[in-house]
């Protein structure tokens, strides 16, 4: 029996306009089981697929179909994969990296946007999409005029729907908070999960750093900012539950390092950690951690923790994409956290180092760290 992929190639040889119809139907890239076919239409000397899957060659070559201007590239993508990519088109010796013109699905990030391919079985979670039934929380600015950095810092605070000063709330401090709102739909996710009773109404402080590669790299100054500047200010401004089990830190990439190192700086102050694709570089011997110099202080911090693991919090939700290079570091951290007596839930997803991956982990992570009254409340 001829496969759908081979049949498509044959059909395209005789009728290249099939591509346009498939694009109009938003079916590109095409999936046939775990076989995914990327398509490009246009004159070119060479077309390459540049994806962000660590473990595969960064580029895959498109092949021209017959004498047409249609190019195809076939990849095997395991179930529930989600892949971000661009297409590199070379024409007359000039190369250009573009988003897939035949695929409207995009994922934005601070550097722009990538095209997105959903493998078989992957669906955008419903709880990440704005629900008009969900009451919205509000974002309020908060300025800390004097900080350990010697300069003001601006924080945005998510106040849950129906916020009341007479009630007490759990607290979550999020590193790179504005990016989480902008690129991972964090506000929508919070509104939805609170509406669905999967997490309790909570105060979420969204922090930013103007020098994140320095401050988030396990810097003691940042940890003091969290513990000595931000936390007391939030306690004075908001009715917060005092128990560590109602206080958490969250971050992704270097933000996860910042969250973990701040927790280490103030053991037991934060009972909940949500660490996504943490940049937990380390070396087993010597100083070569295999990454850029920006990771040097991170590796010193992680190496120190590996030498003497200690309990710094109650629960850690740790997650990483299997298509990112940091999977090794995150897998390595798991047994250390467990051996130190922390309760850890670890999740891997077939995704890369990106905001959509981190968005997709939020429901399980938040609901496990801060369980809502789902079973008992029927409004």
């Amino acid at each position: 029996m001829i496969s759908a992929t081979r049949q498509l190639r044959r059909d395209l040889e005789t009728d290249p306009t099939i591509v346009d119809r498939l694009a109009a139907a938003k079916r590109i890239p095409l999936t046939d089981g775990t076989t995914t076919t990327f398509l490009y239409r246009g004159e070119a000397d060479e077309v390459l697929l540049r994806h962000f899957i660590y473990g595969l060659p960064t580029t895959q070559r498109f092949e021209r179909i017959g004498g047409t201007d249609v190019w195809s590239c076939v990849m095997e993508l395991p179930e529930r994969s989600r892949v971000e990519y661009k297409i590199q088109v070379t024409r007359n010796g000039q190369s250009q990296l573009i988003r897939d013109p035949l695929n409207p699905r995009l994922a934005r990030d601070p550097y722009g946007a990538n095209s997105v391919c959903h493998g078989p079985g992957y669906e955008t979670p419903a709880w990440t999409i704005a629900d008009e039934e969900a009451r919205p929380g509000t974002l309020a600015p908060l300025t800390l005029e004097r900080t350990v950095f010697g300069e003001p810092r601006h924080v945005t605070v998510y106040e849950p729907p129906r916020f009341r000063p007479t009630r007490r709330y759990p607290l979550l401090i999020v590193h790179d908070g504005e990016e989480f709102v902008e690129y991972a739909n964090l506000k929508v996710v919070l509104d939805n999960l609170i509406y669905r009773l999967e997490i309790p109404p909570m105060i979420v402080a969204l922090t930013q750093s103007p020098r994140r590669l320095d401050e988030y790299a396990a810097s003691e100054q940042h940890a003091r900012f969290i513990g000595d500047d931000l936390l007391p200010r939030l306690e004075s401004e908001y009715p917060l539950l005092p128990d560590p089990s109602a206080r958490g830190l969250m971050g992704a990439s270097f933000g996860a390092v910042a969250a973990f190192s701040a927790a280490c700086h103030e053991p037991e102050a934060f009972g909940r950690l949500l660490l996504l694709s943490g940049s937990f570089a380390f070396s087993d011997i010597g100083d070569d951690h295999g990454r850029s110099p920006a990771f040097d202080p991170v590796a010193r911090f992680v190496n120190a923790f590996r030498d003497t693991p200690r309990r710094v919090t109650d629960r850690v939700f740790l997650a990483c994409g299997t298509y990112e290079s940091l999977i090794y570091e995150n897998r390595s951290l798991l047994p250390l956290l467990q051996s130190a007596g922390m309760e850890v839930r670890y999740r891997e997803a077939r995704d890369g180092h990106n905001w959509m991956n981190w968005r997709d982990r939020l429901r399980e992570g938040l609901a496990w760290l801060f369980p809502g009254p789902l079973w008992l409340v029927y409004e």
Partner: protein, 317 residues
Amino acid sequence: MDPMPPIVLLGPQRLRPMLREAAEAIGGPARIAAITGGWEERELEDDELTQHFDGPVVNLRLHHRLETMLADDPELMRHLHRRQDRLQRRRDLYHIRLAHALDAARELLRLPGTHRDLEAAREDAIRTVHAIDDHHVERVQDLDRAFKEDFDVGARPALAYHRQELAEMLGACDAIAIAGGHVGRLLEQLRLFDLGAALGARPVIAWSAGAMALGRRVVLFHDAPPQGPGDAEVHDVGLARYDGFLPLPHARHRLRLDDPVRVGLFARRFAEVRCVAMDEGARLLVTEDGLQHATGCRWLQPDGTVVDTPATSGAPA
């Protein structure tokens, strides 16, 4: 014996309120007692609620009364906390037994075929779940009896005062409206303030958790929680103000109504009652003659299907 006053059970009221129609269905009461204790600290934010009724609405403030009373009576608070801890321990044990029994039942229901041996195994598995539910209910009731014998809450002066005041307030009302919210807290308030008799003597409108609390058993449910397999559980006995129905508010969000195995298992597990999906727009009118009117409801069937109720009246056979 006086006839049983009518009771109207409703789905969630936030997006499509039906309180005015419900009030008309029970004769348009002049003065209504409102119970919003399931909303906990938001109990008194009942402006929206009162706008749906023509006459005055008196909020019984059960949450506030309980909080104040416990703050003033540490001994009573300790007693209630002890009871809650014991209940929770029993629930934890129930969950362990239930999880295995439901796993087995679901696995058997998912097997293809309908041959006699398989059907018998399925029946046995569901009977086992049923027995675990029954056993849990007995244990909860045993515990209640033991705590009542051990500690006479009715003798606490503050509680006696509140009960008396509530009886007087209810005496001046023609009907009672019970809102949704936290069903555990609501049940505790209704029991502690001894409102069972008052609820049996007046027309009642109840929605979501309010409707659940008035049934014979309170069943908690969610087919797709962020953690765990989503095993529905019998939480407690209810006030048994009506019988024959198990209202399932927010069913379209909380239940996988397109999964015949889960729907069928749910309906067969609670076969002694009709399992009623009650979303926005759902209404049941029950009198002493049984169900008088159902609209916007869906019944979960033992064969795994979900049947819309005709908008006019009556239940399917």
